[in-house]
Symmetry: C2
Subunit: 349 residues, 2 copies
DNA sequence: TTTCGTCATGCAATCGTTTGCATAAATCAA
DNA sequence: TTGATTTATGCAAACGATTGCATGACGAAA
């Protein structure tokens, strides 16, 4: 038993508990609890006096105790590779807002250090620190995700592995890429390059395939020399580097499809550096439509992803699963939109 | 008492508890607890068998129970006005990483809806959902923060109210502004404008004052007509609008000091639109040095804030307070750096 | 050999809620 | 009027850990 010197007062902790409220309202703790959770049947008079007591004592329920007893944290876990990246931060924002709406809190965890960190962070689920999780970016082939998903509610947002049966929400990356490249073809371009990435995201793979298929479908033979691979994290510098390679070859492409806006900006700035005008000499199309591009000139033609909505939807699905049990769709596809701006134009003659 | 049909097994919940481990290791739960927390003195043999049991049963401590008992959540609360803003997201990143290092988790909460939402979110502290909080942006005059700060560990990052005694970390905004404007003066500029904001952040106020004092000190009389106020949230569009006003007046400024990079980019793009070359016709200097500006051309001359470090430091202070009680400094000032790039140049003749 | 620490461990209370069951009072049906 | 419901509330047992105290064993000092 713990040391406590009780002299005249029966109870003297700084914080006021449900028992204090009960005493004040002349009812039992159970009744207070029921009032506060409006569960069971309680007479209006009792309800009233309980609330009055709560008010008077400034009682705040101890969520730790509550969660402990109810075995529910009302907290979700969000794993993001990099919250500094505007693409992800917009998704996070969508998740956050939806969480608040459902009166959930969210642990947002950077997992930039890779798979080990992801696993470690997911341990929060068995440790009862969160009720479910949203994964923002898992590469293909991470089968251990399946194990977690079998034991806990998990939703994958934007990236997923089709082999692993975890509910996910994303756009149709393949179709989007096809549409982007078709558009370039319609502008008359024939030598079309792409800046992809060496990462193992499904989206990357699909966009590359879309690019190739769109070319083939138009009777253009995809050339490996026109495919560049940026670094794993798509960063600006690697976009510049790859663009430099593509644009300085003889018989260079007249248009480039980039799998992200950041890469596209790198490509554009590199083109300018090489003395090429965009879009007169070279057309460049991006992907994502992060808001930062609004300040860029020329303004980017790009595939707009509904980042915020992706986040919202993922959260919504997770909450459905948490509330109603099983039945949420395995695959949710949100619409993208191709937005035409200034970085693309007809093939130079 | 709760319904539970125990037939042959003494215990049959899905999750394995400390009691199961104790049974498996032939010790008492207290001993297991002591091993896991390496508290008290335990024989190596016992330690061993406990770990073996933990391993065998795949035991994961129930953090909810632990937190409840220990009255400590090992979670902090972070209030941010907008996690999508790169300035904040970098701070968040710093806080996050430091948290992980100290094995804390963090609730990141958007409080874009304003004061009411901030208050409501801070209720997590009395409700025992978090041990302390970091506030990323509080406007001047929010005295209720004092009340929370008296009852709970709170640190303010980047913005604060000097009237309210809450520990805070930031850069010296006044000095930075002075330095920026002095630099413009040194380049020969005399008609120097500024784009400030109508918000009530202390930093905004200090930067404006720094601007004015630097002019005065050089014998230049500050002119109200050269001061523009962007919208409360500093957004790009309002930067453009104010810049347009400043640049289209007759006797226009030849240099503009902007209190954020986003505003500076708005100003630059507007200048270009008006046919002015940057920096040949007009010099523009920003503030913050968010990484997005690297893709902008001309590259921004700006005051670089150590966002990530600001976050780290705030977290560090909070953890010190949580661990060791009171003694953390009221004011922590981190160094900024003026970085000279392409958007500023000598006064046009 | 006796006495006294120190070491290693167990006992049982406790943290603040929620909740299954019991019960008393009130309402209703017959 | 009486038995059957319903309504309103209380009792006390959980939930799964931590921890103050008690205790038994062992080794060292006297």
């Amino acid at each position: 038993m713990e040391k406590r010197k009780l002299l005249f007062q029966e109870k003297r902790t700084g914080t006021v508990t449900i028992i204090d409220v009960a005493r004040e309202a002349n009812v039992s703790p159970s009744t207070v609890s029921r009032v506060l959770n409006n569960a069971g049947t309680i007479s209006p008079a009792t309800v009233n006096s309980v609330y009055k007591a709560v008010e008077k004592l400034g009682y705040e329920p101890n969520m730790l105790a509550r969660s402990f007893r109810k075995k529910e944290t009302r907290t979700i876990l969000i794993l993001t590779p990099n919250m500094t990246n505007p693409y992800y931060s917009n998704i996070l924002s969508g998740i956050s807002d939806m969480s608040r709406e459902m009166s959930y809190s969210s642990f947002i965890c950077n997992t930039s250090a890779g798979t080990e960190q992801v696993k470690e962070t997911l341990e929060m689920l068995p440790k009862h620190r969160a009720d479910g999780a949203i994964l923002l970016a898992s590469e293909k082939g991470e089968t251990w995700i399946r194990d977690f998903s079998e034991a806990y509610p998990i939703v994958q947002c934007s990236e997923f592995d089709p082999e692993i049966p975890v509910p996910h929400v994303s756009i149709d990356n393949y179709k989007a890429a096809v549409e982007a490249v078709r558009y370039l073809i319609r502008l008359g371009h024939r030598k079309i390059g792409t800046i992809s990435s060496v990462n193992h995201y499904l989206s990357t793979q699909l966009r590359l395939r879309g690019y190739q298929d769109a070319l083939t479908e138009a009777g253009i033979k995809p050339e490996t020399r026109l495919i560049g691979y940026a670094s794993k994290d798509y960063n600006y510098a690697s976009g510049c580097a790859i663009a430099e390679k593509l644009l300085s070859m003889q018989d260079r492409p007249t248009a480039i499809f980039c799998i992200s806006d950041v890469l596209a900006m790198g490509a554009i700035n590199t083109a300018k550096k090489l003395g090429l005008r965009v879009p007169q000499d070279i057309s460049i199309i991006g992907f994502d439509d992060v808001e930062q591009t609004a300040m860029f000139s020329p303004q980017l033609t790009t595939i707009a992803q509904p980042c915020y909505a992706l986040g919202q939807k993922s959260a919504e699905l997770l909450f459905m699963k948490l509330a109603r049990g099983e039945n949420i769709p395995m695959e949710t596809v949100l619409p993208y939109e191709m937005v035409l701006r200034e970085s693309t134009g007809p093939r130079p003659v």
